[in-house]
Amino acid sequence: MTDPSVGHASPLPPGSRAPDFQLASTPDQRVSLAEFRGSPVILAFYPADWSPVCTDQMALYQELLPEFRKFNAQLLGISVDGVWSHLAFASDRNLHFPLLADFEPKGAVARAYHVYRDEDGTSERALFVIDAKGMVAWSYVSPVGLNPGADGILRALESLKSEGAAA
């Protein structure tokens, strides 16, 4: 299924247990994946605060927060930037969801999800939807310069919801 032209990395595939993490979202707050157990989580890895494509992508996700909320899903942005950059970026761009600092050890969470780019020292532009039990339900790596949009995320959330209804 993995098309090498789509991105460099093969992200952690569906069915894998999503590696837990604890990362700072502000200078005095940490967010762990485990605390969202029971509801879906959208992990959006992006290469850097302030880069033009990220800006559009994160603004689009901010706009879609009410849609994600319909699925009871929590959105988390992750990059290797530090908390101070994240704070300034979120306030400048009006983003109201956590941006996590995969900063020390640098890129450790991106590596655990197989989306770290050694050559650039940043993560891929990668999306994961994690189900309520903490398993990867969907993953996607986009070419770094291309905004992946949100249709894949919404499709994954919908299929989780219909599986949940069927179970």
Binding site: G7, P14, Q57, A59, E63, E67, G149, D151, G152, L154
Partner: protein, 197 residues
């Protein structure tokens, strides 16, 4: 459904009854733009689209749909609703053009002055904006765009396929011509090929 997403395609077909359309349904190419009236890139694309429309004439059908990213552009939602309110009075394209020609002036009083300039019924225009009568329509456009893979503005679709290339005059014109000729060869094939099975 891991990696390898299919190429993004327009999931909401163009509707003569619902969409804002310039050009005829039998044009060789239909180009749909998802745009935001306050987005500078859409503003830059506006005269370029006028230019390709002039070049292609009746071979191009152009459709505009709303994709306001309010997070970045605080006036974009209201501007989109103003264009829809104008549409209710038969003046969508007049408002669309005024909004793109005055991107830095999209406060409520500016929107009202454009409505006045277009000779709209101002009481009705004001009421519809205050009541948010067109908010749902704008949101439907937005979500249809999201489901079609719109990832920023402007995003263009040519005969239903997302255009991922540039949008200066030459790039857009070349892509439209390509879409037109592939459409022509498709319909010739349909006409020539014997029925299957």
């Amino acid at each position: 459904m891991s990696a390898g997403q299919s190429e993004a395609v327009l999931t909401v077909p163009v509707s003569e009854g619902r969409d804002h359309i310039q050009g005829s349904a039998d044009a060789a190419v239909t180009m749909v733009e998802y745009g935001d009236y306050e987005c500078p890139y859409c503003g830059a694309a506006y005269p370029i689209i006028k230019e390709v429309q002039a070049r292609m004439g009746n071979r191009l059908r152009f459709v505009f749909r709303n994709f306001p990213i309010a997070t970045s552009h605080p006036h974009a939602e209201r501007a989109a609703e103003a264009a829809e309110a104008a549409a209710g009075q038969g003046a969508f394209w007049g408002m669309h053009d005024l909004l793109f020609e005055n991107q830095r002036h999209q406060h409520d009083e500016d929107l009202r002055s454009y409505a006045e300039r277009l000779g709209l019924d101002l009481d009705r225009f004001d009421r519809e904006l205050v009541e948010g009568m067109h908010a749902e329509r704008v949101h439907e456009d937005f979500m249809g765009g999201v489901r079609s893979g719109v990832n920023g503005t402007p995003t263009f679709y040519m005969n239903g396929a997302r255009h991922d290339g540039g949008y200066d005059v030459e790039a857009l014109f070349a892509a439209l011509e390509r879409a037109a000729s592939s459409e022509r060869s498709k319909s010739e094939k349909v006409a020539q090929s014997p029925p299957q099975r």
